[in-house]
Symmetry: D3
Subunit: 255 residues, 6 copies
């Protein structure tokens, strides 16, 4: 029994929505992820975490928003890397809005936005806000939307275990220990550990300059060294995230 | 060696683009496709055809535009079916624009838009047009964009063989003989032939009425009977399309 | 007693709307139409057909939308001809929306969009859709909008009589037999039969290329030879269209 | 030899543009004009004045922008009258922009915007501004656009002769002496002098209130009494306007 | 007890709104005002007038909209002066809309827009209109918005006293007698009377030309000579305006 | 000699820009700041810090963007507090773009955006990006824009001194120790220490829920207790920020 909306025929989708299923929309990005990870890291991870959670919940996972918000230098190396392919903020907000509004028109009442790209965060707020205005136009006022960044479900224990010298914050974790470990866990076929960069962490001033350059970004585009990454870490992080997300969706929606 | 952009690291993508690779953007839809086909038919077919063509051409296939233009009653059964999840025209045009503009910024000079959802057609024109204006802003004036609907590469011989009583035109082929055969060929795991509808073709007046209803649409949402579909037909159609697309991309881009 | 909204004073318009009159909005274009037809063909024909239908129905014909969607090479020769003057899709959708929303605010419940330019079609859908959302904001939920391309009311008999070798479809009929005949019927003063092109039909590949060129378009811009055009054919086509449109408006609106 | 762009074939238009012809775009409105004048007054007058001027100048008159900016209570009685059919400011600005940009793409270097609806004024500025930005994108920097309200060409002598008690300003002249006289001159078939209102002038406070009401607007919608209107006055005003416009276009463009 | 919203804590603001306080939004501009006045004249005057009126009324004055509509040559010397810093019309309309919508969401029922920049006028209409549509979405239909240009409250007596040779109209009063006198009254520290220009009034044709130049604008940017300005005149004008505004707000809102 | 652009006449502004002055645009917000601080905290602080820095640098401070991005529950208590008055993201991005584009048109080459409201950050990126595209249209390619959040210039020593138990991050510092101290330093007249809330810090889950509630937000709206705030701390923080900002502007622009 698939959890993927794209793989269901419409009567199956309708049946599940009528039965109160949660619909999860992963939101990702196509963005440089150093020499050893593919451009699609942020396109895969939130969708894969969401699918695992959905299997436990009997939820539906919609096709992800594959292209996300512009990469910023201090968060993902910025737009100067070939392959980083982004939507303008307005486009992204409207993609999220249009898709959520469609779910609401289908009768979905329990919607989750699972974000996997740091720069998307502020734009998911607005997309959700517009969709809820559309809901009012449709005469619907009993829909609720939950949103989060999946990595915020890593437990304190896991963070402490993985970062004995202190957690730099998710902004600097781009293409680094967490994402590499998760990819080794979920999609090892897409990781090339022979290409691990040999660099220091990014070193940024307190300001941004435009037109942007790569100044301060390590050459590979990884903002912190990914070298300690291991599949077991990925399994642990994924376990934390799926467990926390399942628990919170149950708490919020009683699903 | 993958053709999928999302599965390449950025240095590989950069190398191929610098070597003159063609970049193909599939544009699809999430839309009802009768009882026996999944919502993602238009999300899969143009991407799968594009990947096959890319393998022959050494081209790159970008992640598809998964959500497409609003379904119209006389083309895809309209927006009243649960599961049909669409972008507004403005959003769709901007998604295509933003993604193509990114490819152009990466240095791509040979871009192909491979459309697999009838209602998308007019909006791809505008998305391309805006991206070419962006190219001018970037100081790029040697990029060319080619676009087509993949099914227009079915040969006359195939059409005559499949439709001995005459081809109704692709609008009415929604979830019908062609799409079912293609899915049987490419993704038989997603087709449930036990759920084939038993209906006549859609019977539409010369006009549309809004607010839209399902009047004239067969209950399943298939606009013509898919019952004669066979995997061999799908293989033949796919063969036509891949062959024609490869030949035309070579003709246009010398690729 | 005029059917033209622009020629009525407001109390007359108000009276008719209150009495349940149908309001028809013709949507046209300013676009090259070969050597022998004026730029305004699509600006005149849908308005003239609509006025004839309105006379039979006691309907009101609003001033047409004169500028329409961008011409596409395989539909109208494209934007490269001097004189072709088009709106961007977004502008066009909003013009239609704003005008229909005004009719709805006036109290009109029976609205017809009569399209006379192929490329406008998809954008009329969206304009209507937005106007119906505006209607909800105004607290109006009993308005219905009907839309069509006027040429779809040519009967099979007329098509067979005019095209003994087969009908190429309206896309290729640009500035050709149908439009020339209709102009000879309605506005012979604007046709210069001494300037008929002497060309073959357009010969297009399955794809479009951007930036667009005139490749494949006959030099005049007529996509098929208009040479067999006659005023009698125009009268017959116009008769079909007016008759069919009147009948369908009566069927839909009981007008 | 027509001056109307819509009535020319494209080679004729191209020839004139190449020869340096001025292109005039009338911008009007569909708006209540009291009991005795049709809704289309502002749709007719700037186009008719422009055509007369064009005949003297060998200029081209494009199809007018028929629907204009929202009527304001103190300028045209506001949006509460049935029949008043307006574009939102954004739509209007984009219509003007798109049309002017097309003229520029055709090679026109001398463009005139002839406004005939008071509320349009500020929005024509922006439409022109955007078109000149588009011109830069097209690599064109030698186009100039002239704009005016046609009534500003009434001479002081005419104003004094027509308004011996003082000219209230064009805002209050809505459906009043000037417009009624001009319609009696140009289109007497559309004036019904038996329906002249018998009212005082509008009496407005220094403020506007929203949601708007008709408070202060004379019931007919004429903001000043039109009763002294005569065709001779219309001829005199039209003469002033055409003469002044022709002279200024010659001065500006050397046309 | 401050009247400035920015200087209140939220419980104070909430209390006053619940008690039925009027909220006034000044709308200004940053625009050249000749050699002797600062760029912020239009940013200060409507706010200062509004604050005085608010003190009498117990009203709240929101932070002003500081950046306004593009300056036009015949109204403020146009955009060619360094320092003139304007919003596009669309941006301005949305700023006004967003701010008013927020007040409505707070529960404000009595809202006043006090405009101090001529070119803003038409755009305030649309901003208010959009906010009232937002109000409907919020389920609020008992809010009213009043708007005016503050200078329209100068009395006839004051105008006659200040302009014995006739009032040229506010368009030509840019950086001239009225504004200089008002600044001498309210903010003499920002006026440098040693820099008064020595020029004639602007002399404009009946048309505008784009791209705009400073042709016809006196070099300083003052459209009429400010030389007779005196603080006493400013006090008189301010007195008129505050008195008239207070009276009309009381009349409209019973405040 | 003022640093405030609004208080300069245009020739002074022009002279300074020609001499290479830096232009600083503060970006703020009108947002609840607990019981003891005014709604305008974010409207004052970045402007005041910028003015101090400008005095050292001989820079110009433009009028701030007073209304900012929507407050989010976990960053500023969200939109449910009366008085919080925000722009939509699209409006805000365009305000920043329009203002920066104007500076660029004036000839400014060194532009600084000084942000004082957490939720504004992502939108300043896009506003700057659009302005730099506009710059290209103007033919300007030697302008650079620097942006930062002023609080990121607090030194590690100051943070350690002020937060002996650990710094919760600026998101949770809303209306808390830092902002209260800064207001006590800069504008003690606007702080009412008698109204300090007596609450614990906000306690938020890893997710957001929409429609938003105040769940998890302390009743006052302060996200952490402000009780230890002192003017001396404010002086220290302000000193850090001004010093760091001055140094970095000098480093970046050689100003």
């Amino acid at each position: 029994m698939t959890v993927r909306m794209a793989d269901m025929a419409w009567p199956e989708y309708e049946k599940r929505i009528k039965a109160g299923a949660v619909v999860i929309l992963p939101v990702g990005s196509i963005e440089q992820h150093s020499y050893h990870l593919p451009l699609g890291v942020d396109r895969y991870l939130p969708a894969l975490v969401a699918e695992r959670a959905a299997e436990e919940l009997g939820a539906i996972v919609a096709e992800p928003v594959l292209y996300g918000a512009r990469s910023q230098m201090r968060m993902g190396g910025g737009q100067t890397y070939p392959g980083t392919t982004s939507l303008s903020p307005v486009t992204l907000m409207h993609v999220i809005r249009d898709v959520l509004t469609a779910f609401i028109a289908h009768g979905a009442k329990k919607i989750v936005v699972c974000n996997g790209h740091y720069e998307n965060m502020m734009f998911t707020f607005e997309g959700i806000d517009m969709a809820l205005k559309d809901a009012k136009m449709l005469g619907v006022d009993d829909v609720r939307v939950m949103r989060f960044e999946y990595w915020d479900y890593m437990t304190r224990e896991t963070i402490d275990a993985l970062f004995p010298d202190g957690y730099p914050g998710m902004e600097l974790e781009h293409a680094a220990l967490i994402e590499t470990s998760l990819m080794l866990h979920f999609r090892p076929d897409l990781v090339d550990m022979s290409k691990l960069p040999n660099e220091s962490a990014g070193d940024f001033p307190a300001y941004d300059i435009f037109p942007a350059t790569r100044e301060g970004v390590p050459p590979s585009g990884a903002l912190s060294p990914p070298n300690r990454a291991r599949a077991e870490y990925g399994a642990r992080i994924a376990g934390d995230c799926v467990k926390g997300i399942v628990a919170d969706i149950r708490k919020v929606f009683g699903a």
